[in-house]
Symmetry: C2
Subunit: 122 residues, 2 copies
DNA sequence: ATGCTATATTCCATATATGGAATGAAAACC
DNA sequence: GGTTTTCATTCCATATATGGAATATAGCAT
């Protein structure tokens, strides 16, 4: 009879928090907390090399925090579990992350479908 | 005009999460989330050597997550900030920790005042 | 002052994380 | 076929974390 049973299942091992507590991975997770994004979009959003972003995404994927979905040439990532998304939304209020991860519009130079379609329509 | 402003200040750096995401430190924090405890009590609760518990407490103290208070021979630790305590209570629902950290009664063999007084009264 | 008790610190070998660079694989298009 | 584009992986030198062991400090008692 506790309050707030919505996410009371123990779904996180302490070690997973250590993975989250990494500046770049945190930024990636915060960006994904708002919704699915493709690798190239994340790359341009964070201003980092693609290889490095993929590397961090692989770590998050192996830890079960994110899942990927291939669509043609692009690979889209999203948070694996609604519980984790909830946790990220809570952390979003407490943790300092660069503003850029909250910029969820078109990104100049990004070649991903979303950005290109938005460009054509504008 | 956002909902829930109670703890919306950005008080946590991502690196601090990494500190929290350590099995032993997580257990210590979860134990302290319920209230102040002395070092010896934590030592007996977790069944670890005192030197090691002090070592981890020092890391948490330097990170600003806990504060200490000396009283005679004992040193009592507590969570430094109500915001952090709130976060820990949220994490408590999600993170797997051994049951022992939730045992907040007297601990057999613990020499701390709390446990000794309880022993005499019983 | 001596000794006891609770806690802190320092040292250190080993393990793991970090992030750069080059390379690999796979799909779409010519 | 070949080429381009997007993403993944592997290798590696360096940095940081981990946790054991010994030692240090500080308060209280006699």
């Amino acid at each position: 009879m506790k309050t707030q049973d919505s996410h009371s299942r123990k779904f996180l091992k302490p070690e997973v928090l250590k993975l989250i507590g990494h500046p770049v991975r945190m930024q990636i997770l915060m960006a994904l907390a708002r919704g699915e994004e493709c690798v190239c979009h994340l790359t341009f959003m964070l201003g980092m090399r693609q290889a490095y972003v993929s590397q961090q995404l692989a770590i998050l994927r192996r830890a079960g925090l994110v899942v990927d979905r291939k669509e043609g040439l692009n690979v889209y990532y999203q948070i694996a579990d609604p519980h984790i998304r909830e946790l990220l939304h809570l952390l979003e209020k407490a943790v300092e992350v660069p503003n850029k991860v909250h910029h969820h519009g078109r990104i100049a130079g990004c070649p991903c479908p979303k950005c290109q379609i938005a460009l054509v329509e504008a």
